[in-house]
Amino acid sequence: MSTADETKSWRGFAVAGLGKMGIMHAAMLGVVPGGRVAALVDAKEKTAQQVRSMGVEAPIFTDLSVCLDEVQPEGVFIASPQFAHRQLFELCLERGVPVFCEKPLAHTLADAEAMAAAAAGRPDLPVAVGFMLAHNPLFEKAAGMLAGGDLGRVCSFKASTRLSQVFAPMKGWTFSREQAGGGVLINSGCHLLMALQMMFGPPARVYVKATGVHNEVEDSLGAILEYANGVWGLVEVTWSVPGHELQTHDIEVTGSAGTLQVGNEILRLWLNQRSRQHPAGWSQWLRSRTEPLADFSLSPEYCGDEFYLEDKDFVEAVRKGRQPRVGVAEALMIQRLLEAMYRSMSEGRPVELAEGSER
């Protein structure tokens, strides 16, 4: 519980970039404990005006630098397109302002590494990256089961991110390789890669085949991920498949003792014989009944709890002067994996993660 004197000194947070994610963060700041929007920042003033007319009582800026000078927010949520992340991120850290940066960290590995270096230079500042699946306790629980040996010897997995979104040529930065850094993999599949990283760590080698069904960027891809311990996995990422109006992330793991299935909403474990903790056959856990849950959700059917929890975590981290749960180190590992996957895609061969150079 915060005292009245403490809350008086809370200046609130700026939201920079007012597309869908910026609006979501502005709304979440209205409901997470201690949250408040101190400023709205967007290069297009009209966009900011519209968001303010939604009910966000905060001054508008078209330049983050001016906002930092005039408002001195406690932290900044960067929700701009990823090609603009680095400039905003570095500006905040130079001014000593904590940052929540939407995923992916950047559109290129070079930008991501520069951002990680900037963050390393200010270890006193809380820095979060918006990989919201990392706030879903089902994936954490699944990772715990694998690490704890519930599944016996882990052999392989199948994983997918599926979304019904792209069925024709599309416009906008999301579909520009230059601005987004790629297509469905970097924009949507990076969430799945974070979940896989939580469960298996970084792979040693990747091999990716992809197709731009409708666009210059990849709309669908298949990949093989190989790990140093012998585990391998098949990954499918697509935004061009019907039946997934809301994005789904699913992972099925095969082990010597059974099978584990985990997705946004449900975790199931099937064991071929009873273990110390779980019965033989099926056990299941629903996201909607697994703590932590959000006190408020804008979208219970797609990760509404996780959006709330990641914003709550960042606000709390700023106020307590600690690091948030998901930071630049984890995000940089994802960026390196993305780099290797895009390299494999373009060169048509398996790529070792240790190779690591720019595309």
Partner: protein, 287 residues
Amino acid sequence: MTLSARLGGPAGDILGLQLPLGGGAAVADQLEPLRRLQTRFQSADALRETLERRRADGYQALLALGEARLFEAMGRKARPELPMLLPLVPSLRGFMREAVEHGMVGAGMRRVWRSGVLSLVGLGVRGLGQLGPLRRSDFPTFLRMFIDLELAAFARYDPPVVFLHPQMTDLAIALNNPRIIEAFHQAVADRTGAQAGLATENFGAATSALASWGIETAAMIAPWEAAGSHMRPSVDACVRAARACPFPIWADRLGRMEPPDEEDRELMKKAGVVGATRDDYAIWADA
């Protein structure tokens, strides 16, 4: 006749079509039966036949987004052999997809302009008078125009209640902006003879917000199930709040493909929740 008696079918329930027409989220092992249902309902005739059967079973009302297939199935006007339509507006599905390409403002403008000059003229002088604020990007005005456009398609079915989409209700609550709700009420009053209801995923916060804003609603749809999933802030708090509500409440099943069980019904009864919205597989399985 009370609203709950007028709308409620067997067990007080109303029908829902979100999952069968391809919206909402279903977990992986529900996809196959759902896909069969969605394929079947590609045909407006099949949808109409099923709606007629449900009406004959006693279901009186159907909560629905504005979908071309639904309007085709319903015909040109309301008919007694079909359930009454309860519009859920605005339909955010296509809008959010366009927002990926064009941004939120761009997608909104495209939607308004794509509806065509004739549609805008059809909104009347009041609608055209809104174009000034629209250009100035006033969101409640923008929302009202969206809803106006959607209600124009629903109006011929004389809906008794129009519900505001939960994402919009909850955005208004999160941003503490009663103007969003007021804009919705105004659009419903101007465009139809219907009452205005709210759908929400945050029941406790919604009832508190309405009380603090001094805004009344005719009905509400919110998550209810015995396990307490999505019942925020808690089952007990939701039950207490529901019992104090002067308006009927229907239980939102949030993508559940099975019907409410005895425990669910028991909790609904305890809270005075009049019935459930049913878009589960069981209610449509004979399609």
